[in-house]
Each structure stands twice: as C-alpha cells, then as structure tokens.
C-alpha cells in the first residue's frame, strides 16, 4: 500500500515536468508578444522576468494588422476553410450515403478505386497535382485549393461507416410516408450522424487552417497568402521583428486552442477514427 502513494507522487511529478516542457515555450511566446520591442531579448536569464513582461503592450498585435497584411491572411484562410469544410461535408456525405444505402451499377469497383487514392501519400501527389493545376490554368487561384478538397476518400469512408450504423427501419418508415431518397437523406440520416459530421468537419477545417505545403506550391501572390504561409513569409522577410512574429504565432494559434478546448471530444474521436482506418 505504501508503494501506491510513492507511485502517485511520482506520476504527478512526471506530469508537472511534462506540462512545463509543453507550456513554457507557449508562455514564452505569449509573454514576448506582449513586450515592448526594446524589451524583447533583453532578458535571457531563466527567471520569471523571462515570461512576464515589465509592461504589457498590444502594439505587436496592432502592427500585424496595420503594417502587415495579417488581417488579409486571416480572412483568406477563414474563407477557404469555411467553404471547403461546408462543401466537402455536404458532397462527401451524399456520396457516403449512396455507397452505404444505394445499390448502383459498378459500386464496388468505384469503391475500390477510392481506396487506391488513400494509399498514395499527399507528398507524392504534390508534383503531379502541381502540373495539373498549372495545365488547368488554376495557378495562384483559390480554386486550386478548394476544388481538390471537395472530394475525399477518407471522408466518404468515414461517413459511410456512420450511415451503415443507422437502422434501416427509420428510412423505410419515412419511405412509406412518401419521402423520396433526398428527403430521407436530409431529414433522417444526416441529422442522426451529426457527431460524426462535426468530427469530420473539424478535421477538415483544421486541415485547411494548417495547410502549408500545397498553398505554398500553388499561391504566388503575397496578397492571397493564407495564415501559415503568411506567418512564414513574415518571419522570412522581417526576421528581426520578433514582436510581430510572436504576435502572429499567437493569432494563428489561439483560435485553434479555443476550438480545441470546446470540441475536445471530437478531436479525440477524430484520432480514434484514423486509428480504425489504419
């Protein structure tokens, strides 16, 4: 029994160390984003001063939006992310419904073909996708970001699983009441899988928000940049403006952390579903 208390203490000690390793970098960034410029880099000794500014200023945050086009990056990203998430959820759920509930000619062949797209990693698809976009004349166009994201085999598989879990009696009852297939889809099935839609929507949104290598390849006008590219561009062009970079990092991260804190269980469910897919 005495071992149990020692074990508990050890566990909490380990937790505290790990939590510090995780939080200290974040706090350092936050603190520095609120420092006046002359104070950044002034303190390098590891004490409280390193994390807490003498005076708090929001000048770096306002600089982001006045001197640098961060507002534009932010809006661009929200625009693309919302459109992609909304449309892909709708389209993929319809396709998933079809694969789950309708028997059409060539269904299994098509399904197998979808599977193939999951095996090839995105990084390998990067170059041919780039050529395709170039040949379609969609370079530097948001359509290059939106169109490819509207259809996703992973989303279709995931939602198909969800639809398969709905009792057929519900659909049959609605059918007897005179509802057509579209009606059944929108009024019965879709509402029933709402948690899965949230999970997939969250994963899609996060994927768009964090998007880097593909937008980097496809967008050439700085005005069109998304958040991640914009932030990287910022730290490349103005590496000395640490205040703005720190503030930019916080602006990119805080919304995500807030969303995460509210939708934690959907995040975890998202990971578990990737595990099932594996």
């Amino acid at each position: 029994m005495r071992g149990k208390i020692q074990w508990k203490v050890a566990t909490y000690a380990v937790f505290l160390i790990a939590a510090s390793v995780v939080l200290l970098p974040i706090l350092w960034v936050l603190g520095n984003s609120l420092r006046i410029t002359s104070e950044i880099g002034k303190y390098t000794d590891f004490n409280l001063r390193l994390f807490f500014p003498e005076r708090i200023t929001f000048e770096h945050y306002s600089v982001l939006f006045t001197e640098y086009p961060f507002a534009k990056y932010f809006l661009n990203t929200v625009f693309v992310a919302v459109i992609v998430t909304g449309l892909s959820l709708l389209l993929n759920s319809m396709a998933a419904f079809s694969f789950a509930r309708i028997n059409f000619f060539g269904k299994n062949v098509l399904f197998a073909a979808l599977l193939i797209t999951l095996i090839i990693p995105g990084e390998v698809m990067l170059l041919p996708s780039y050529l395709l976009i170039k040949n379609l004349g969609l370079m530097d166009n948001y359509l290059a970001l939106i169109l490819p994201a509207l259809g996703g085999a992973f989303g279709i598989f995931y939602l198909r699983q969800s639809f398969l879990g709905i009792p057929k009696e519900l659909e049959e009852a609605a059918s007897i009441d005179g509802s057509d297939r579209l009606g059944i889809f929108f009024r019965i099935d879709l509402p029933l899988i709402r948690p899965h839609l949230v999970t997939l929507g969250l994963m899609t949104f996060m994927g768009q928000w964090d998007g880097f290598i593909w937008p980097l390849t496809v967008l050439t006008t700085p005005d069109k940049y998304l958040l991640q590219i914009g932030l990287n561009y910022l730290q490349g062009e103005h590496y000395s403006d640490w205040g703005a970079i720190f503030a930019g990092a916080m602006v990119c991260t805080l919304p995500i952390i807030i969303i995460f804190l509210f939708l934690q269980k959907y995040y975890i469910e998202g990971i578990a579903s990737v595990g099932i897919k594996g």
Partner: protein, 289 residues
C-alpha cells in the same frame, strides 16, 4: 421506372461530384506521377516533356545529395520512432489511471498537437536562437554552456528531432490510451485475484494485448517521419551543409527551385515505394490477430 434504374440514377447523382473531383485531382495525378518519373521536363519553356526512360533514376542513384537526404531521413526516423513511441506509451499508462486532474494534464499535453506545424517550427526556430532563445536560457540556468543548435551542423538534426517529438508525442499517447482502454478490465481483476504482481500484469496482459496498437504506432510514426517537410523548410532549409535535408524537402527543392520536375518525380516514386512497403507491413500485422 424500374427500381433498379432509379437506384442507378440516384446512386450516381449522389456520388457524382465528389467522385469526379477524386478522379481528376486524386486518381489522375496518382497515375501521372509514375509516368512523370520517366520524363524530363522543360519547366521554363512552358512545361514540355520528353520521355527519357530510366535516366532520371540513374541520375538519382549517382546523386550524392540524394543519398545524404535519404540517410538524413532514415536517421530522423531511427531517432524519432523509438523515443517518441516510448514517451507516448509511458504517458498513456500514467494517464490511464484514475487520478485527480488527469484530464487537465491530458489536455495540456495535447496542445502542441493542435498547434500548426508552421507555428511550432517558427517558434522553435526562435527558441533555438543562440543569443536570445529560450533553449539557451534554460541551459545556462542548468549550468550547461549555450549551444548553437540549428547553426551547428551536428546539432541541427537533433534540434529538429526534439521539435518534432515535442509536437507529436501526445497524439500517439492518445492512440496508446485507446488501445489500453480496449483491454477488458476483467483480465486485470482476475489476475489480481490470482495474485499476480503489477509487473506480471504488465508483462502478460498489457504488452501482448497492446501489440496491435504498438505496431500501428510504430509504423505510422515511421511513415510520418519519412514525409517530414515543414520543420525542415522553415527551421533550416535543409542546412547546415545539407545535414537536415529530408526526402520531401529535397524533392520540393528539386522540383520548384531547380525546376527538375522529372528527377523530383522519380524521387517521389522512391518515397512512395518506401511508404507503400510500410503500409503493406501495417496491413499484414493487422491481419495477424
């Protein structure tokens, strides 16, 4: 109309747009990359291509930078996989206990997973700054001399490795956690009643039943490690002296900085083969149960 015809029409109507999208932006490039590996591209003259057979592959084999990149990627993987997985497993076991505040800690640990890799790479690039960064502040506090990190050819790769582990370990902790929670509690209870020690329970119940999850974690981490790009691009650009250049980053540079699309495609195929082999391995181990 016959039921079957209605089914066909409706079925295709529902899947039409996503399937077309996947066909154009998924299947077509997937097939095209194989063809591209056999071509030489003149990107500056509008992207014309000529068939050159295996010469891209021969060029890669004799390219010392390619082999250095390959070695770096392997090195990265060899370090990240065991360290990250061990940390993830240990914490999964610790977090699996019913302790006060466990959920709070789990949430905190998960924060780096949620942050974008771009933000993390930029932040850690600054943490590693030799003069003003947090890393040297901590080191000097521990009476360790300050280091050069990303500037030092020997320290750059370990630095990137630490950053990547910092980001991802909690993701795999959650995967291990769900694997642990799948183990039926009755097994533990009955073995406890039979007088088994905690260590024996670990050895004979936890580890065998966690095998499938462990394989999954190890192989997924390997695959993810092969695909690493963002931290290399942002923190080091592949340097110093090409010591942190990894496959995807080198492919990207070759394609978009050197305009060698054919060569880069051939390298992409090599990457695909590696990842594909690992995926097959993963599917094989899934079937083992």
């Amino acid at each position: 109309m016959k039921r079957k015809t209605v089914d066909n029409i409706e079925g295709y109507a529902f899947i039409l747009i996503p399937v077309i999208i996947i066909a154009i932006f998924g299947l077509y490039p997937a097939i095209n990359i194989f063809i591209m590996g056999f071509q030489k591209y003149n990107m500056l003259a509008g992207g014309t291509s000529t068939f050159v057979g295996l010469s891209n592959y021969r060029a890669i084999i004799s390219d010392p930078s390619f082999w250095q990149t390959f070695r770096n990627t392997l090195l990265f993987t060899v370090w990240v996989v065991p360290i990250q997985s061990a940390i993830a497993l240990i914490f999964a076991v610790l977090v699996n206990q019913k302790l006060r505040g466990v959920t709070f800690f789990r949430t905190v640990f998960f924060l780096p997973v949620v942050m974008s890799f771009v933000v993390i790479s930029i932040v850690w690039k600054m943490i590693y700054d030799p003069n003003y960064g947090l890393a040297n502040s901590v080191l000097t506090f521990l009476h360790i001399p300050p280091q050069q990190f990303l500037i030092d050819p020997n320290q750059a790769m370990p630095s990137v490795i630490v950053t990547c582990i910092w980001k991802s370990w909690a993701w795999y902790m959650v995967i291990f956690l769900s694997g642990l929670q799948d183990i039926p509690k009755e097994l533990y209870e009955s073995s406890y009643l039979d007088g088994a020690s905690a260590f024996q329970r670990l050895l004979y119940i936890t580890i065998p039943l966690l095998k499938r999850t462990t394989y999954f974690v190890l192989i997924m981490t390997m695959i993810d490690s092969f695909k690493i790009f963002t931290p290399v691009y942002i923190m080091t650009g592949g340097g110093p002296l090409g010591n942190t250049d990894t496959l995807v980053h080198y492919i990207w540079k070759t394609a978009f900085r050197l305009n060698e699309m054919g060569s880069a495609s051939a390298m992409s195929i090599c990457l695909f083969v590696l990842v594909f082999l690992l995926t097959i391995l993963q599917i094989r181990t899934e079937k083992e149960d």
